[in-house]
Structure formats: structure tokens, C-alpha cells
């Protein structure tokens, strides 16, 4: 409804007592959009790398994510296999078709049966990579793309995310800069902080509302 569009914009301008934004004023707001000034960033995550990793772990655990830190990529298949065994989850996992995950030698743990691709809702466990981890609140930063279907982040009851220490940043703003550097804005950016939860019945917090009941983060030390 282009009639509505022009009427609404016209009313906004009328109420603000001016015409369209032009001249110097326009240059100022356009410059603000270009420069994207950062606001106040909490000092909490202003630490060295080790401090940021520790903060990430502490914050993620405080929202009921479970964490397993492993020394090398080779340790990932066992970390996944042990997790499945511990929670009685059977052998099947649905993995993101991610080249880094595919580069791991999964044959070390032959009991883990891997299929790849998006989820249709029948998978019990998903394994995905992450784009970044944000120490400030223990938040995982994932985005959609050919190697990272969004359905894997929400449909399975158990979501296992493999994150590398080199991907951990302090504040959210650093993750935005990394994403901009990587290319265009993807269809979906998911910031995930703990498993799905609800407080909608008498304000009792319960996990596993519609998304994963469990969020498990395997952190690989890659220096």
C-alpha cells in the first residue's frame, strides 16, 4: 500500500515539523549509519584471552549450558560419544555439513552414527559448529548458511555445539565486526544463551520449552 507509506511518512514529517531529512542533517545521520558508533561496553569482558574463555564458561554454566573443554580437535568424537552415553541418547546425531566439523576424524568413535543436513524434527541430537562465542553473557553466536542449517539449533532435544577458543570474543560488538568482515548479513543470526526455557506456568522456570532441553558446548583449545 504505497498510499499508506507516503501518508505515514508524511504524518511523521508533519509531526516533527519538517520535510524529509536533507542537507547537513542528512549527512550526519548517514555518517552515523556508516560509522556505527559503539556505545558503552561493559568492562566485564575486557580481559585477556584466558580470562574471556573463563568468563564464557562461567556465564554459560550459569544459564544451565553444560561445558566440556578438550585440548584438541581429535578429542571431539569422544567428547560427543561420551555425552550421548551419559544421557542415554543412542548413537545417531544429525551434524551440520560444516567443513571444519567434517574434517574431524569421527572414525575414532565408530559408535557415533552421523548423518548430515537440516533437521525435519525427528532428530534427537544435533551437532553444529559456532561462528563465535561471546564471553560477556556466555552466548553462542551462530548463523544460517549452507554449512549451518537453522533447524539444527532448535528442533532436536539436545544441541551440541563445538566452539574453538579462538572464536571466543568479549562483547557482542566484536562478534558483529567478525560477521561483517566475513561477508553479507545471513538470513538468520542466532544468539543462544543456554537451553530453551519458560516461566509461563506460575513463574516456575523449566527447561526445554520448544527448543532444546539441553545445550552442551564442547570447547576445543586451538590456541
Amino acid at each position: 500500500m504505497s498510499g499508506s507509506r507516503d501518508a505515514i511518512l508524511g504524518r511523521i514529517r508533519g509531526s516533527l515539523g519538517r520535510g524529509a531529512v536533507t542537507g547537513t542533517e542528512r549527512e550526519v545521520v548517514e555518517a552515523r549509519l556508516q560509522d556505527r558508533p559503539r556505545g558503552i561496553i561493559p568492562a566485564r569482558s575486557d580481559r585477556d584471552k584466558k580470562g574471556q574463555i573463563d568468563l564464557f564458561v562461567e556465564m554459560a554454566e550459569s544459564v544451565a549450558a553444560s561445558i566440556n573443554r578438550v585440548p584438541t580437535t581429535d578429542a571431539v568424537p569422544d567428547a560427543v560419544g561420551d555425552y550421548l552415553a551419559r544421557h542415554n541418547l543412542g548413537a545417531n546425531v544429525r551434524m551440520a555439513p560444516d567443513s571444519w566439523l567434517e574434517g574431524i576424524d569421527w572414525t575414532q568413535r565408530p559408535t557415533v552414527a552421523i548423518t548430515k543436513g537440516p533437521s525435519d524434527g525427528t532428530d534427537e541430537v544435533s551437532v553444529t559448529a559456532a561462528f563465535a562465542g561471546i564471553a560477556e553473557t556466555g552466548t553462542l553466536f551462530l548463523h544460517s548458511g549452507p554449512s549451518s542449517p537453522t533447524t539444527l539449533n532448535f528442533l532436536p532435544e539436545n544441541h551440541i555445539v563445538v566452539l574453538r577458543t579462538s572464536q571466543i570474543v568479549g562483547p557482542y560488538e566484536d562478534a558483529w565486526d567478525l560477521l561483517r568482515h566475513a561477508g553479507k548479513m545471513p538470513r538468520t543470526v542466532n544468539m543462544i544463551t543456554g537451553p530453551s526455557r519458560t516461566g509461563d506456568i506460575e513463574q516456575t522456570i523449566m527447561l526445554g520449552a520448544h527448543g532444546p532441553r539441553r545445550l552442551h558446548i564442547i570447547i576445543v583449545d586451538d590456541g
Binding site: L33, G121, Y172
Partner: protein
């Protein structure tokens, strides 16, 4: 949704007499209020972030047309569509046409206050499209055929026994002997029932906590993940949002996100914060094929440049109602329309008119807690006072009340008369009340004494005491 704001007084009386509601509301102080205070205390920058949040919103509102046009251009550039709706009816029609274009039978919905404002569910049903609310609280109240009573906890008025009753009633194909005593059993049942509905839906409709001009993205914040399933699985994702949801950049949205969860639930960050930009890309393995944003005005453009512009900063966290003594006594339904609590008492007269909602600005003790906790520093008491004045000016206040105020104003403007009248009244009340120390009935004060006793004055008026001390603050100074 049809308003009953006009009947606030009756609504409030019924709410106070409703034992179940009172028990449900009793849990608010120990939940939201304590959690918010703790979250704010954990972040030393919290107060500075509030100032910054206010400034970001003020800047955006001052250039709202520019940022909306930028937003629109970027949605188009990523393959999405923007639809402008001046009124709720326009928005209904736009959404219906999109749904009909794919012959939609069912629509899943993430929580959206704008969809409530539009009255979307009823409208879709009238057009043979079944809307399915996916947020657990919204699902419960949809089954109970009730409106939400809180903007972030829509079923806060419902007890778990009532949820169980509702589920037994609605989920007829499940074992009638099953146990639904524990909240966990209720959640598991809702999760199982809902799962297929997500997969079956033709269209997913969400709200938006923010729109980002820089990227053309809509942002939703949830804890359940329901909004994500709603906007990922169906062929079409429609985001409905009001104009003032736009912010310039990802950095600006991030700054406001630091305030939102802490103010709302006291969480450091909600479980899921999701940025959606356009439809799925050609190479994407999942995601919707179409992405639409419906921008609703519904009177907001006319608030710019007025004293009510400040309400457009609201990020819908619900802190004002969580901290409001009136809300926590009467609950959200008493307010009679979509938005309850202090923000509702400003928004409802703004969007529906003072005539419909004139009682709401009076539903405040002016204790100021709402303003003290508002992350966007909206001066809610000041705005409520504006509406009280407006209602008086527009002669919407009943004649007796107006006459009373007129007499009071006449006396108050004449200091000698005022001193004489208050001195006289105090003397009479002091002597009449000497024996009991209080009054359980008094002429002209039935509104007070019907609910509580009026303490009898003890001695002299303030002004008499003041002049006895020759205007000194402290007798011993």
C-alpha cells in the same frame, strides 16, 4: 481486541475479589522484582546504559522517517517485502492477502503485542485460517479464550491447576487419566502437541523487538525458542511491528538488548535473540521462502513532537507493571485492553482516546516506581498526569468531581480563606474524633471511609505549626 478500559473500576473490583488471581499475582514481587534488582546490581554500567538507551531512541524518533526508509530499502535489497499499515484494519488485510496467496490453512504465531493490537487471531479465524499461538503462555490463554494479562508473561494470572483443566479440555485425544499435576507435565504436553503444528503451518507470524535500519533485519527475543520455530519452518515469515521499533544499527540494537532481558526477567540475556534478514538464500538448506514486514502506525506518527512522544521509546520489557502496586493488586485484565500497567495507562488513552480510557491514568498512586525502573527512562507519572489534566479539560470527569475540584481550587488560591477553612475543619475533626481517634464514616468522605478509617487530626494544622516555629525547619536550630 475490544476494549473494556471504560469499565476499569468494575474490572478492578472484580479482580480484587478473585482469590485465584490474587494468589497468582502474589508471586510477582519475589520473581520479577528481585531478579531485576539483582541483574541491575551485577552490571555496574546499568544506569549509564539506561541513559544511552534513552538517547538512542530519542535520536531515532527524531529521524524516524529516515530510518524507516533506510530499513525498507535494506529489506528490499535482501529480497524481503515491507508493507505499510496506517490502521489495524490495513494490517489485517495485508496479512490476510499474504496468507491467502499460499492458500494458508494454519498459521503459527510467536508472541506479538502488535498482533493483539491488530486483533489478528479473531480476524484470521473469521477468514477460515487457524492461528496457533506457540508461546506457552499465549497458547494457554488462547485455549482459555482470554487476552494476555501481562506483556511478557501473558498467562501470569492463571494457576497451574487451571492450566491442567484447560489442557484436559483441549487435548481430548490424550489419555484422560494422565497426571497433569506438575508444571513439567504441562510443559511436556504442550511441547508435544505444538511440535506437529510448527511443522504443518503454512505461515509463521512473529512480532519484532527491534527492526534494524542498517541491515533490514527484524529481531525477536524469546526464552522458549517458539519464535524461532515459527519463523524458520513455514514457507512464509511475516514480522509485524509498529513504526517505533526501528533502530539505526546492530550496535544500537545491542545496546538496547543489554537492557531488555535484565529489565524484563532479570536474566543477563534471554535464551534466544534472533536476527532475521530477508528470506532464505538460494544456498540455504532451510528457512522461509518469503519474508514480509508489516509496519503498523495506528496513531503513533501523530505522537511525535507532542509530550507523548516519550512513550515511543518503550521496549516492552514489562518492568513498569512488575513494579506497580496497582497492577500487582488488580492484574492486567482490569486495564481492559492490550497493554496493562503504567505503560498501558498511557498507551490506551493515546491509542483509543481519553474518553474510552480516562480511568486508567487515575489507576496510579504516583509512587514513581515505574519511572524508577523503566530502562528507557519514560516519565510515566508525568504522562499519566497529562492525561488526568486532559480528561478534566475535555470535561470527561463527572460533574460532582469537577465541582469538588473547583471548590478546592477556589479555596486553595486564597491563602487566608484556605488557612481559615483547614483550621476550622481540623478543630472540628479533632474535637469529634477525640474519643475514638478515628472516623469510620464522615460526610463527603465516603469514598475513603468505605474501605478504611480516617485517623482523626491531632492538634494543629501544618501551617499553624509552621508559623509557630517562625518558619524554621528545625525547632532546635
Amino acid at each position: 481486541m475490544k476494549s473494556t478500559a471504560r469499565h476499569f473500576k468494575d474490572n478492578a473490583r472484580d479482580a480484587l475479589a478473585d482469590a485465584g488471581l490474587q494468589s497468582a499475582l502474589g508471586k510477582m514481587e519475589t520473581g520479577f522484582v528481585v531478579n531485576r534488582a539483582n541483574a541491575a546490581a551485577r552490571l555496574p554500567e546499568f544506569e549509564a546504559l539506561r541513559d544511552q538507551g534513552r538517547d538512542i531512541k530519542n535520536h531515532t524518533l527524531q529521524h524516524l522517517d529516515f530510518y524507516l526508509e533506510t530499513f525498507e530499502a535494506n529489506v528490499l535489497a535482501t529480497g524481503g517485502k515491507v508493507h505499510w499499515a496506517a490502521t489495524p484494519e490495513d494490517a489485517q488485510q495485508i496479512i490476510l492477502e499474504i496468507c491467502q496467496s499460499v492458500d494458508a490453512k494454519t498459521v503459527t504465531k510467536g508472541k506479538s503485542m502488535i498482533a493483539e493490537e491488530i486483533g489478528l487471531n479473531d480476524f484470521l479465524e473469521e477468514n477460515n485460517i487457524t492461528p496457533v499461538e506457540t508461546d506457552l503462555g499465549e497458547y494457554i490463554i488462547q485455549l482459555r479464550n482470554e487476552p494476555p494479562s501481562h506483556i511478557i508473561a501473558p498467562a501470569i494470572h492463571v494457576l497451574k491447576e487451571q492450566v491442567a483443566e484447560t489442557f484436559f479440555e483441549a487435548h481430548k485425544d490424550l489419555d484422560p487419566e494422565r497426571s497433569l499435576e506438575e508444571p513439567q507435565a504441562l510443559l511436556d504436553e504442550a511441547r508435544a502437541v505444538m511440535r506437529q503444528k510448527y511443522l504443518d503451518a503454512d505461515v509463521g507470524i512473529t512480532g519484532a523487538n527491534f527492526l534494524i535500519a542498517e541491515t533490514g533485519s527484524s529481531v525477536i527475543v524469546t526464552n522458549e525458542g517458539n519464535g524461532d520455530l515459527t519463523q524458520t519452518l513455514p514457507k512464509i515469515h511475516i514480522a509485524v511491528a509498529s513504526l517505533e521499533k526501528v533502530v539505526p544499527t546492530l550496535e544500537d540494537a545491542t545496546a538496547l538488548l543489554r537492557l531488555l532481558a535484565r529489565s524484563a526477567t532479570g536474566q543477563e540475556f534471554s535464551s534466544y535473540t534472533t536476527f532475521s534478514t530477508g528470506p532464505r538464500r538460494q544456498e540455504d538448506p532451510d528457512g522461509p521462502e518469503q519474508y514480509h514486514v508489516v509496519l503498523l502506525d495506528n496513531g503513533r506518527s501523530e505522537l511525535l513532537g507532542t509530550e507523548f512522544q516519550e512513550v515511543l521509546r518503550c521496549i516492552r520489557c514489562g518492568a513498569c507493571m512488575n513494579h506497580c502496586p496497582v497492577y500487582s493488586s488488580v492484574g492486567g485484565h482490569a486495564y481492559g485492553w492490550v497493554y496493562p500497567g503504567p505503560i498501558g495507562s498511557v498507551l490506551t488513552p493515546t491509542l483509543l482516546g481519553v474518553d474510552e480510557a480516562r480511568h486508567l491514568p487515575n489507576a496510579s498512586t504516583f509512587c514513581g516506581r515505574c519511572e524508577a525502573v523503566c530502562p528507557m527512562r519514560i516519565p510515566l507519572p508525568k504522562l499519566l498526569r497529562h492525561y488526568r489534566e486532559k480528561a478534566f479539560e475535555e470535561k470527561l470527569v463527572p460533574a460532582v468531581e469537577r465541582a469538588g475540584l473547583g471548590i478546592w481550587a477556589f479555596v486553595a488560591q486564597r491563602p487566608a480563606l484556605y488557612r481559615w477553612a483547614t483550621g476550622m475543619t481540623t478543630r472540628i475533626l479533632t474535637s469529634l474524633g477525640r474519643r475514638r481517634g478515628r472516623f469510620s464514616t464522615l460526610p463527603f468522605a465516603a469514598g475513603w471511609t468505605r474501605y478504611r478509617d480516617l485517623p482523626a487530626p491531632q492538634g494543629k494544622t501544618f501551617q499553624q505549626q509552621w508559623s509557630a516555629q517562625s518558619g524554621r525547619r528545625d525547632r532546635n536550630a
